[in-house]
């Protein structure tokens, strides 16, 4: 990719990021912060370990993935169905149902409630929302399509949301920096991934001098073999 193309790619990525509406953004920030929180307040997880998924923009990873995962024929053409908006709506509907039933353990944050009821809940109530959603304890009529009355799909996506935050956070994705929302072949690495540093992973390597011998070995000759 030449500089001109890279410029276009970066522009496209920033337009995409700008189009994320505040409700969707806050909802997935609430999810990312629940799964991999900032832990600056915890002495044993301070320093570099304190950095959480929101600082690494993992909420944008989830939004990008959901918006690019489903393409089906609609009328004459193949159509991409962005799923970030309905998925955020599902989390917010479930959060409102939790509060309406009085099942929350702490009052939600009033400043965030109007933007994202899910993000307005304290972490343990957000976890409760996800757990009750996958147990199909909420009124599925109140969820948006494609989740409305489709409990199997709700279970699939709630489980997905958990693992996707982890994969986004602990893989190299955050290190794609300003190209992270670009089409994958145009992404470039900017530095060493923080999630890899937090995990103590040395990064990709050509090899390791770690051969400690064989317990068993197959020797072959003229069509036969022997285990030694």
């Amino acid at each position: 990719m030449n500089g001109y193309e890279e410029g276009i790619a970066l522009q496209a990525a920033s337009i995409y990021a700008a189009q994320m509406n505040p409700c969707i953004r806050e909802t997935f920030c609430g999810l990312a912060a629940l799964i991999v929180p900032n832990t600056a307040a915890l002495p044993q997880l301070g320093g570099e370990q304190a950095i959480g998924a929101v600082e690494l923009h993992v909420q944008q990873y989830i939004i990008w993935e959901l918006d690019h995962s489903l393409a089906l024929m609609s009328g004459l053409s193949l159509t991409v169905f962005p799923l970030a908006a309905p998925t955020a709506q599902m989390l917010n509907s479930a959060a409102m149902q939790l509060v309406a039933r009085g099942w929350e353990t702490c009052p939600p944050n009033p400043a965030l409630w109007a933007i994202s009821p899910f993000a307005a809940l304290v972490p343990c109530d957000r976890m409760r929302v996800l757990a009750l959603l996958e147990q199909l304890q909420f009124d599925l009529e109140l969820l948006p399509p494609p989740y409305q009355h489709d409990g199997g799909y709700v279970k699939f996506v709630v489980d997905y949301l958990n693992r996707a935050v982890m994969f986004g956070n602990y893989s190299e994705w955050p290190a794609y920096g300003p190209t992270r929302l670009d089409t994958p072949v145009c992404r470039r690495l900017y530095g060493f991934p923080i999630g890899w540093r937090q995990a103590g992973y040395p990064g990709i390597a050509d090899g390791y001098r770690a051969f400690l011998g064989f317990v068993l070995y197959i020797e072959r000759d003229q069509g036969g073999y022997q285990i030694v």
Binding site: L34, I35, V36, T39, L42, L45, Q49, E65, H68, S69, L70, A71, L72, M73, L78, M127, A131, E134, Q135, G151, Y153, K155, F156, D159, N162, R163, A164, M166, F167, G168, Y170, S171, E172, W173, T183, P184, V185, R187, L189, G195, W196, Q198, G200, Y201, I204, A205, D206, G207, Y208, R209, F211, L212, F214, V215, L216, Y217, I218, G223, Y225, I227
Partner: protein
Amino acid sequence: MYDADVIVIGSGGGGAVAAKELAEKGLKVLVLEAGPFYGNKKWPQPNSERGGEWSSSYHDLDVNIYKRIYNRYENNMNDVVSGVFRFGPADRRRSPWHRIQRQRGEIWQLSGVGGTTQHYWSQSPRAFPSAIDGVWPISYAELVPYYEKVEATLPVNFSPTTPKEELFYYGVKKAGWKLNPTLDVVTPGYRPNPNAILPPNENLMNPGYSMEQLNEMEGCNLQGHCMNGCTAGPSVDRIAKRGTLVSYVPLALKTGNVSIRPNSFTIKILTERGPAGALHAVGVRFRDTWTGEIGELTAQTIVMAAGCVESPRLWINSGLPDNGWVGRGLTNHCFDWVGGVFDERDLLNTIGFPAVYPYIGHTSGARVDIPGTGIFQVSCLSPGLMSYLTYGFSEAGYAAFSHPEPDAPWDLRGRVIGPQLKALMENYSRTMTYLLLTDDETRYINRVEVDPLLKDENGPIPVVHYTPSAKTLQRRDRLARYACESLQAAGARTIIRSDTPFAFQLHLESTMRMGYVVDTNCEAYDVKRLFIADNSVHFNGIGGPNPTLTTQALATRTADKIAEIYFS
């Protein structure tokens, strides 16, 4: 009159083997592959430009293109939505091809030349004889010569030991398992994995060679990227990890009798009725994934090797007769995944190293086989993949909400999130993880079908249903106990059982079963001259061992049968 003697649909674990074996008999073979061809001069930018149409020459292979694409970064390589390895079109701007799963889970299947063997971990064990003899319509002895041929061709050998295998052996020996020095497993025991990976480079421990040099030489260099794209080797056909892209595909091209057309999604099997009214296959219709153009090709015989989901989908979308078993009887080894976190001091005392080094060596290097129950195998991945498989993926919900199990050999069951996740991930390099493979009971209700309404550009899309039987779940629980007890014996301080979603589908098998949809030659009962050469023809889940070698042995045998029946 025909475009070829044989058309093979799919170039993965089975299709590439069938193509090579048929071509070595002198037959003219065309291979259609839905995904990209990585490491081929005809497609220098396989994910962003259309490139050529066909490759017919071994000399088209290009290791520099291969290594540029296989860059080993876990998100770039294995993201299921947009990764180099995904089930989708070559053009990574586009969405993947969707399969409907209305339950927790994921389907790890790849399009592209080499298919799912591009990221498989190369485990190549034979079936448990007890799962074949008296159960399958053919005997284990019938498979053995074909196993031997595939093992010699790939080639297969036992995994070398690195620190994580050393720790595994320490734990399983303390837990009472005995060494089982065999390829034919009839009793329980441990052994290194029989893997399709070249033995370590003989100069690996020689500091006179730099790692960069070693990476351009033949032999495994323990780089730990079995799943993220192995790059050890001087040429495409000498890459250490022997997915079919680097093993059977180069051998097929070397015959001069094979042409491969990637970016070509087969959407219909074409048939005719013979004079006696019997249906037989005469060709295929395919769609170019870059241009949308539709092509047709004819051959005397068709081999379907599209995988356990796409083979039944293609059958159904072609309007072929359904005897009630098409897509039925899906097995999946009902996986589980456990992990043990170790203290540095304990590790120094037991194995003499301060860490497990989960990123070094074969992704999976050793196992305990328990015929009648399943297998647990040490399996360690890069941190993004490891974090989600260990802590983010569960049938059981959140560990924080799960019921206490005071007698269980695990401390946590289910997803772990928040500060506790971060504290565990800080210990990634001192964590050893195992994949558990259950001897999965075959059930008619487990199935692949097509959605009555939803379509993609290739036709009605597949719906995959999988619910394990009570017996399968008992075996899985037993395996989880054995596995976690061995982690305890090895000295793990914290043990996690993820309780992986039942529908985490890696080892899909038996959706077009021998004896139900195909005969013992793997030819379809209801459509003559149509053979199947993928995991779908397995009668069952072969007792739990990883299925690829058995598919490859059967594909070799099927090539013999095709030549015998139609070309002798």
